[in-house]
Symmetry: C2
Subunit: 202 residues, 2 copies
């Protein structure tokens, strides 16, 4: 005996979600059908309206419901001339939560990974190049993650900005808050050493 086709299709569809295997998908399908049909209808509607209503901002490529996202529409952010390059929309949120940055963003929606077919075009780097050559950017802050792909992407963008007036900076790497020195991986510790700061003694 198998599940009926409609239930099987629902279970298979849940398996699309990240971190959801066959057992979890089955639990999700049954719980929605047994106990929460209102929730199931709400999820279906949210998916559909998100798919039809969400596009990418024409300036920063972040998800937006208008052509230009709220961040790119703020005059003070645009006039700061600072552009922070991040890999994903969640990174934007994390940086906004620090309260330390008041410029605008450029969201790559991924990282360079030629083997997976992700090249400069997929990351919208032609759009960034236009903005660089138009002289709209005074400082380009690279906030790509410290990984092979992240470093390759940062290197590529640094190279793009070479012949423009934009200064390029990168987030400091080192020991995280609350980090226990003995438990930190050697690459991070290496970065922390090479980026060490002298303390002014008075």
């Amino acid at each position: 005996m198998k599940f009926t086709p409609l239930i099987q299709e629902l279970i298979d569809s849940f398996k699309i979600l990240p971190g959801v295997g066959p057992k979890s998908a089955q639990r999700m399908a049954f719980q929605l059908l047994e106990q929460n049909q209102t929730g199931a209808a709400r999820l279906a509607k949210a998916l559909q309206t998100a798919l039809s209503g969400i596009c990418k901002c024409k300036i920063c490529r972040n998800f937006s419901e208008q052509e230009n996202c709220p961040v790119c529409s703020e005059l003070t952010r645009v006039e700061s001339g600072q552009v922070c390059v991040v890999a994903t929309p969640s990174d934007v949120l994390a940086i906004e939560e620090t309260g330390h940055y008041h410029g605008r963003y450029f969201v790559l929606m991924g990282l360079l990974s030629p083997l997976d077919g992700v090249g400069p075009e997929e990351l919208g780097l032609d759009l960034l190049a236009q903005q660089l050559s138009a002289g709209q950017i005074s400082e380009l802050i690279l906030a790509t993650p410290p990984s092979i792909e992240g470093d390759a992407t940062a290197y590529y963008i640094t190279d793009m900005a070479k012949d423009t007036t934009a200064k390029v900076s990168q987030l400091a790497q080192g020991v995280p808050m609350g980090g226990d020195i003995s438990n930190i991986d050697s690459r991070t510790l290496g970065h922390a050493f090479s980026g060490r700061k002298f303390i002014e003694q008075s």
Copy 2:
């Protein structure tokens, strides 16, 4: 800064799913929007067709796409007179996989739990009582889980079948296959002791 309303609603909708917290919901929403819009559309459609196309079998209360589910439509199963009472549709599947049982089922879609507002009516026990008094059932096999709610439900159903011709049986409880005796909880071990079988010596 917050997510745009459509993204926030999508994230909140994912939080409805069992075992999905705020971070997982965010990851699900972003991954579908960034990398798998086809998958998102498929999930939305699967939810909607499941909600509109799946009803409960009028005989066994299991999920079905017709009035009578395929199991209850099999003449040999109905004629066996055996009815296995289970809590959820997944239990039906698990029992079918054993290949040891060839009767039909009765799916409670829950267990008695007065504090949560789940009484005999919510479990369709009036329907089971009808089938019992109509003399359609020769053996009622209780396969409710060994828990307080499961035992209470089994006790209630046993009481219901008292004045009918149906015999009532319950799944054997004891040491599971591959179970390490020292790691088994004391209740299970107690059941295994009281249910011990003498080995015929020849």
